[in-house]
Each structure stands twice: as structure tokens, then as C-alpha cells.
């Protein structure tokens, strides 16, 4: 980067506010204060973390939800000034000895769902926020002009500056700001930037990038807080970036109570990964892309808008194709120090073919599984070059790839069905497999023009437009539009796994797999056959996984490596990975000094999970009707789908439903299957609600809230009329 460019950017800045705070050490994982910034009036203040906050909300996402609850009203919309973006850390966040301990947890009211969205992300921002003295950062208000917020953890200063000249696209901005704020090359590792891209000016599926400096590549790289449109909120507030600067990172900055316990757990997992990862998931070689071929082979890879679970061409985007032809460096690389699972892959010197940066050689972060599955299989574009190009542009434009892929897949099916035509799309042939069309859509989103902007509003809003403007059949688009609560489905087929239908359907934020991924337990291994088994799994796993978000932890090192001790447990226990649960208890105790049992861990999560549930109810969703899922997530909508698995469906009809399929038309068989599967889903809902302590309408009972210590007056007020 030329100094001259940086100098020009700096000279155009106007200081709007500067605030000084006292630097302090962290006490057993907590700073015990949060940073509040209002960008409407440039007010900056420190808020105390109370013992009650820690007791009930623990940290990370829990703190975020608590702060957001207090900031908004029941009528607040995503673009109201009182809506906030809260970035939380969590007591474990920032330790360097245990893999996956650098996550930031975001919450905001979503432009896609109109309820709370939570999203977690790697990169160095979360740990640096804590090392700078803050358990969470709360941003409220709307700036008049584009601003950059700078938190200087080396001197204890927060600055808000008007920043008119900086580019918005992440791959440019994050690099420039890293250059601008670092003292020298060595200091770049101490900078982290939160940014988005120009598409977030226009589309609801805007996401946020969190940077970290890769000293081997000498590149600023990014991880994504993808889900739910927080990038759109960021740009609506006219924020270009939040920059944080940290002193040197050391392994004891959390001032843990008992480092021996942390080291014991960390080294046990490091060694396990070192010994077993190459034989198991190859996370260090290919990252999460390792499951592309597994999903394809198990009929779970969403293909052509979730119609099918695989495709003969899918092998063109299997993980080894990326490893052998695109991924560079060949060394483990993580998105926070100490992550020996190191799944953050990148393709360097990738030459772009389209768009404003055509001809330039860039570093592409990824592809992650979701990117390859969504862009490749779900859009029918089995071309690795395309997957990486679209991956790059989604990242730098600030677009959530999951929502982008699932929404575009929906539009493609509507196009092929004749609901849309080239006149409506402005001449774009939106057919499955047309990768050029997908890139056109992507670039339109960045420019805020054309049909791309329609797709960028997400499926929920597209359905309404297609019905009202283009005469689409209401039932059909509701069946095939893979969204729920306004959020697009992530990239797994839940059709043949009832438990996973609930795993997606009964989520707080909408159908994202980070709450529960039960497909193998249910569909492949048949380990949870009864409603009670499924309900237990749909209680335990969402609660367990919620805990990662309270701590600042990544889910992947939990079960993307299996310890040898797992064979000592029956399958239903083995799925919990008991040795790793023990690690988490050690690490929690090591940091905070408080003993933790697996039961207490679940209780911590249950408190926050139920709080988020009630938050949704307060904002007008969160009831049984909102847990209904599109039928494509449950079974075959169209004849071609039924016929693609005719043998399976006919067999189930005979054995499970007790109806002989012989002589029945496909249409009749679809109807019979549908009736059965819908009933099963309702029964599952009853069982899960009961297990979670909710009534039939999906509302936590007062009795249950008392039991888990969450009978807070503000919560009782919301649920009381719905008991």
C-alpha cells in the first residue's frame, strides 16, 4: 500500500469524538465492563457488568442479548436508530491454549427476520476487544455520514471519525486500515477490522467481515459473521469499519484462575488433532470443505434448490479439487492463535474473471463447505473456478453466501417454472447451472440495481413479490422457498431426517445448523428412533451448542475431531463427545475459577436460550406458528423429487404409513406422504416443546422459568398472557 494513499485517506478524516478510558487487566476472563457507543450523538461510555449479568447471561451472546433487550422496544425495527449491533466476547474468548477460542458473538435485530439474529465469527476482533478492556461493544444510533470507529487498546482511546474516502469493499478496506493503524509490518497482527462491502448498502443479506493478519501470507484475511443481515444494519448506521488495536498478545491476558487446567485441556486436544485429523476429517488440509463429498454420497447435498441430495457432477467440486488446484500454502492456518484444527483455508493469487476487480489476483478465503454446497450444488454450478470467484465477491461485497445461494436457488426454480422470465430478470437467464448469470446477480447487488436487488431482499420478501406482482401460486412458492422466520436455510437436506427438520425448524434465529445437526444420528445411524429420543436430542444439543456462544468458543473442535475414548461410550453418549465436554469444564474452571459440571453447563445455556426465545415473542414471533417449515424441508414437493427417491418413499408408505402405493399416481403418493410427514412434524414439535419446558404454543412456562432461575419480571410480563 502506498503511503500517499493512506495519507490522503487520513487527511480527509474529521474527528467527531474522542474518549479516553483507563486500561485495566482482565480478571479471570472478565473485564467487568462493556463499551457503549452511540453514533447519533457520538456519546461514548463504560457500563458495568453486574454479578446478575454474569449469573444469568454468562457472557458473549448472553451479554449481547441482555444489552440489546434493554436497548430496544417491542416495536423496534432493524433500521430504527435504537437497534444495536452488539459484539460480545465471553469469558474463555482470547485464551491461546485451547483450539477455537477466539470467537466474537454478534446480535442485532435482523432486516431479514425482524427478530434477534445471532451470528458468530472468528478473526482477532473479539479477543482484542477483551484485551482492550471490554466484555462487549454496543453500538447504537445512526451516523449522519460515513464513519470509522477506532478502539485503541494500547492507549485507552476511542475515536469516531468521519471517513469519506475509504472504499467499502472489504478486501480493500481491511487491508488499508490494517496498514494505516499498524506501527509497522510486525504490528499488523495487532490490528483487527470489522467491515462489510458495498452490497450491504442495498441488500438485506449483508454480512460482516472480521479480519486477522496472516503473517505467512502477509495478507489481511477475513472471517464472516454471515447470518441474518447484520452487515446491512452496519451500513444503515453508516459505519464503514470498526478498527481495534491491541498490545502484544500473550497466553495469560485473561488472567486465568488456574492455567494448569487450561494447558492440560489444550494440550490433550492439540495432540489428538495432531494424531487423528489426517485420518478423520482433514480439517487442517481442506477445512470444512471435507464434507462436500460426504454430503453428496449420503444424499444430503442440497442440489437445485434442495430438490435433490446430490449430483453426478458434484465430484467436480469435491474438497480434493480445491486442495490440489487452488488452496495454497499447505500449512495449518487458524483464525485465532492456538487453533490447531486450523480450518481457515485460502487460495492465493486467484485471478478474477468478472466484475470491477477482473484481472486482479486476490486471496480467496475458503471455500467453506457452505459456500461450495450453496454456490456449487444448490445453484447447479459445479465449477470450482466459479465457486471461488463468487466466494470472493460475496465476501468483499459483504453478502452472506448462505442466504445468497439459497435465495438465488429459489429464484432459479421460479424461473425454470415460468413464474419469472427474462423480461422480469432484465435479461438474465436464471437457470440452474448458469454461473455467469449468478455472477451478474452478484454484481447487481453490489451496484444496487436490477433483479439482484430483488433476490437480495431474501426469499421471504421475494415470495410476496412473486405472488403479488407475477401471479405466482401461493402454495407452491411457500413450499419451495427455503426460508423460515425470514432466514434462508443453510446447506443441508433435512427432508429424510425428522430430527433435523426440527433441528432447523425449532431454532431461535431461523434455520441455521449451528443449533443442531442430527442428520447422521437420526437418518444414517438410527440412534434416536422415538419421539422422546429425538426430543431429548433437540433439547440437549441446541442447549450444549448455545454454550459456545456464551464463551467465545468455536463449535468445530468439539466434534470435528473424535477422541479415541469415544469408543467407550454408547452411541447416544458418544455423540456428545464426553472427553471434550470434560475439556470445556476444565477450561471454564481454569479461566473463571468456578467449577463447572456438564449439567451446570446446560443450565447456563438454557437460561440464555429461553431468554432469546422470549425476546422473539416480545418482537412478535417465537410461537408455534413460526416454527412451521416449508414443505421442501420435509418431503418431496414435485413429481420429479418424488420420482428421484421413489423406491424410498414407496417403501416408507408401505411400512410406516401402512398404505400400499401400488396403483397410485405420483400426485396421490405425494399427498399421502405429505400428510404423514406433516403430522410427524407436529408430533415432534409437541415432544420437543414439552422437553424444553414450553407449552403447546412454544412459550416457556412460568414454572420452567422458575426452575432455571429466569423468572425475571420483564420475562414473566411477556409470557404471562400466553400461558
Amino acid at each position: 500500500m502506498e503511503n500517499e494513499t493512506i495519507q490522503k485517506l487520513k487527511e480527509a478524516r474529521t474527528l467527531l469524538a474522542e474518549w479516553t478510558y483507563e486500561l485495566q487487566t482482565i480478571n479471570r476472563g472478565y473485564c467487568n465492563r462493556t463499551l457503549y457507543i452511540n453514533i447519533s450523538d457520538n456519546q461514548i461510555e463504560s457500563k458495568p457488568v453486574t454479578p446478575e449479568m454474569k449469573e444469568k447471561f454468562v457472557g458473549g451472546r448472553g451479554f449481547g442479548l441482555y444489552l440489546l433487550w434493554n436497548a430496544v422496544k417491542s416495536t423496534t425495527k432493524w433500521n430504527d436508530p435504537e437497534n444495536e449491533i452488539v459484539i460480545g466476547t465471553g469469558p474463555i474468548c482470547g485464551i491461546t491454549q485451547y483450539p477455537g477460542s477466539g470467537k466474537s458473538l454478534l446480535v442485532s435485530i435482523s432486516p431479514l427476520t425482524d427478530i434477534v439474529i445471532d451470528s458468530n465469527v472468528g478473526g482477532y476482533f473479539g479477543p482484542y476487544l477483551k484485551f482492550s478492556g471490554w466484555d462487549a461493544l454496543e453500538i447504537q444510533g445512526k451516523a449522519a455520514n460515513d464513519i470509522i470507529i477506532f478502539i485503541d487498546g494500547t492507549t485507552g482511546k476511542v475515536r469516531i471519525e468521519q471517513a469519506p474516502l475509504e472504499p467499502i469493499d472489504t478486501h480493500l478496506l481491511a487491508e488499508q486500515l490494517t496498514e494505516m493503524y499498524a506501527d509497522d509490518e510486525k504490528d499488523k497482527r495487532n490490528i483487527s477490522v470489522v467491515s462489510t462491502g458495498r452490497a450491504a448498502n442495498h441488500v438485506r443479506m449483508g454480512m460482516l467481515n472480521f479480519s486477522f493478519y496472516d503473517p505467512r501470507r502477509k495478507k489481511t484475511r477475513v472471517k464472516q459473521a454471515g447470518r441474518g443481515g447484520i452487515g446491512r444494519v452496519f451500513r444503515d448506521k453508516k459505519i464503514k469499519a470498526i478498527v481495534i488495536k491491541n498490545k502484544e498478545t500473550k497466553g495469560n491476558l485473561n488472567n486465568p484462575a488456574n492455567k494448569t487446567l487450561i494447558n492440560k485441556a489444550g494440550l490433550r486436544l492439540h495432540r489428538e488433532i495432531q494424531q487423528l485429523d489426517n485420518k478423520q476429517n482433514r480439517m487442517r488440509q481442506v477445512g470444512t470443505a471435507n464434507i462436500i463429498e460426504i454430503m453428496d454420497q449420503y444424499d444430503l447435498l442440497p442440489t437445485h434448490n434442495f430438490k435433490f441430495g446430490g449430483h453426478p457432477d458434484a465430484k467436480k467440486i469435491y474438497s480434493n479439487v480445491f486442495r490440489d488446484n487452488y488452496l495454497t500454502q499447505g500449512l495449518p492456518d487458524g483464525c485465532w492463535y492456538g487453533c490447531s484444527m486450523a480450518c481457515s483455508k485460502a487460495a492465493d493469487n486467484f485471478e478474477l474473471k468478472t466484475g470491477p476487480y477482473a484481472g486482479q489476483k486476490v486471496t480467496v478465503d475458503g471455500p467453506e463447505y457452505e459456500n461450495a454446497a450453496g454456490l456449487g450444488a444448490n445453484l447447479g454450478c459445479f465449477d470450482p473456478q466459479f465457486v471461488l470467484e463468487a466466494n470472493f465477491y460475496c465476501d468483499t461485497y459483504g453478502i452472506d453466501i448462505i442466504s445468497f445461494a439459497t435465495s438465488t436457488a429459489f429464484a432459479m426454480e421460479c424461473y425454470e417454472k415460468g413464474i419469472l422470465n427474462s423480461e422480469i430478470t432484465g435479461g438474465i437467464e436464471l437457470k440452474f447451472g448458469n454461473s455467469a448469470a449468478v455472477l451478474q446477480i452478484l454484481h447487481q447487488m453490489a451496484r444496487g440495481e436490477g433483479f439482484g436487488v430483488i433476490i437480495g431482499q431474501g426469499i421471504h420478501r421475494m415470495k410476496k413479490i412473486f405472488i403479488e406482482k407475477y401471479g405466482a401460486d401461493h402454495n407452491f412458492v411457500n413450499d419451495i422457498g427455503m426460508e423460515q422466520k425470514g432466514l434462508e436455510y443453510s446447506e443441508y437436506q433435512s427432508k429424510e431426517s425428522l430430527a433435523q427438520q426440527g433441528g432447523y425448524g425449532f431454532t431461535n434465529k431461523g434455520p441455521q445448523h449451528d443449533e443442531a445437526w442430527l442428520i447422521f444420528m437420526d437418518q444414517v445411524n438410527n440412534q434416536i428412533p422415538t419421539f422422546e429420543d429425538k426430543a431429548e436430542a433437540l433439547h440437549y444439543f441446541p442447549m450444549f451448542r448455545t454454550w459456545f456462544g456464551l464463551m467465545g468458543l468455536c463449535k468445530l473442535p468439539w466434534n470435528d475431531i473424535t477422541p479415541a475414548s469415544n469408543k467407550n461410550y454408547p452411541p447416544s453418549e458418544a455423540a456428545k463427545v464426553p472427553e471434550h465436554v470434560e475439556n470445556y469444564c476444565w477450561v471454564y474452571e481454569g479461566v473463571t475459577g468456578e467449577k463447572l459440571t456438564p449439567e451446570k453447563l446446560i443450565l447456563q445455556s438454557e437460561r440464555v436460550y429461553n431468554f432469546q426465545k422470549i425476546f422473539n415473542i416480545r418482537l412478535g414471533k417465537g410461537l408455534r406458528e413460526h416454527d412451521a417449515v416449508p414443505y421442501r424441508a420435509m418431503g418431496p414437493v414435485t413429481e420429479e423429487e418424488y420420482l428421484s427417491r421413489e423406491e424410498r418413499y414407496d417403501k416408507q408408505m408401505k411400512e410406516l404409513i401402512g398404505v400400499d402405493p401400488t396403483g397410485k399416481t405420483v400426485v396421490e403418493k405425494i399427498a399421502i406422504t405429505r400428510k404423514y410427514r406433516m403430522e410427524q412434524y407436529e408430533k415432534l414439535m409437541d415432544a420437543v416443546y414439552q422437553r424444553r419446558g414450553w407449552n403447546k404454543n412454544g412459550v416457556p412456562t412460568i414454572e420452567h422459568l422458575k426452575k432455571i432461575g429466569m423468572d425475571l419480571p420483564e420475562l414473566i410480563k411477556v409470557v404471562k398472557p400466553l400461558q
Binding site: 491461546t96 491454549q97 497482527r189 503473517p215 505467512r216 502484544e248 498478545t249 500473550k250 497466553g251 495469560n252 492455567k259 494448569t260 494447558n263 489444550g266 494440550l267 492439540h270 495432540r271 488433532i273 495432531q274 500449512l331 495449518p332 492456518d333 487458524g334 492463535y337 492456538g338 487453533c339 490447531s340
Partner: protein, 130 residues
């Protein structure tokens, strides 16, 4: 290439080498803070095992902060200022010769300084150069 080499058959497990090493680098005689380790034999027939660094450099690529590098003389060193104490290097060492102690923020390893050689009464250790 400079490396600490060993003749395990000569070792009498007096632990003088560990004491000399920890005393030099940590100012205390504590075998758990030495950059080599004597694992005493479980029977009279086997020799004692001396865990030493072969300067193979596998830890270099595992380090996320580029804190580990190999000097011209082949010795692999940790730059403590750059180290964040993640212990990944400890887990990848094929010799288990990357050591750590819970009192310390960074791991430590043999730099082939030879202080252990000077303190070994039985010539079980020597510095090899080629």
C-alpha cells in the same frame, strides 16, 4: 548443523544435566524447567532415556506467529516476544522435546548451548556439529 547428541547407555540418571539447564535459563534447579529430560529406565537392563531436541524444525511451520525459526547453525529457537504460548509446537514435536511449564508463558527448548554436556559426569551428552 549444531545439535545436542546423546549416548544413553552412559547415562546414570543423576539429573545434573537438567539442573544445569534449568539453572542457566530459569535460575532454579528444577528438572521440569529443563530443555531436556531424563526418563529413568523401569528395569536394570534398559538404558535411561534422554529426551533431546534434534533440531528437526517441525515446530517451525506449526507456529501461528512465526516465533520459531532456525538459525544458520541449525539451532531452532523461539522468539519469546512473538510467542503467544499456544502450545501447538509442544503437540507436534516428534521427540516430545518442546517443553512447557505452567509457571511460564512460553514453551522452551534446547538450543544446544552445551551447559548440560559440561555438567554430565559420564559423557552421556555431547555437542555434534557438521
Amino acid at each position: 548443523m549444531r545439535v545436542l547428541a546423546k549416548i544413553e547407555e552412559n547415562c546414570v540418571a543423576c539429573h545434573s544435566c537438567e539442573e544445569a539447564c534449568s539453572n542457566l535459563y530459569f535460575k532454579e534447579k528444577n528438572p521440569l524447567k529443563a530443555a531436556l529430560r531424563i526418563i529413568e529406565a523401569q528395569n536394570d537392563t534398559d538404558p535411561h532415556h534422554i529426551v533431546t531436541c534434534t533440531q528437526c524444525g517441525q515446530c517451525i511451520n506449526a507456529c501461528p506467529t512465526l516465533a520459531i525459526s532456525q538459525a544458520k547453525n541449525g539451532v531452532v529457537r523461539i522468539n519469546k516476544k512473538m510467542c503467544v504460548g499456544c502450545l501447538i509446537c509442544v503437540s507436534v514435536c516428534p521427540e516430545n522435546a518442546m517443553f512447557f511449564h505452567d509457571d511460564e508463558q512460553e514453551p522452551f527448548k534446547c538450543v544446544a548451548c552445551g551447559v548440560c554436556v559440561k555438567n554430565c559426569p559420564t559423557e552421556a551428552l555431547y555437542i555434534k556439529t557438521d
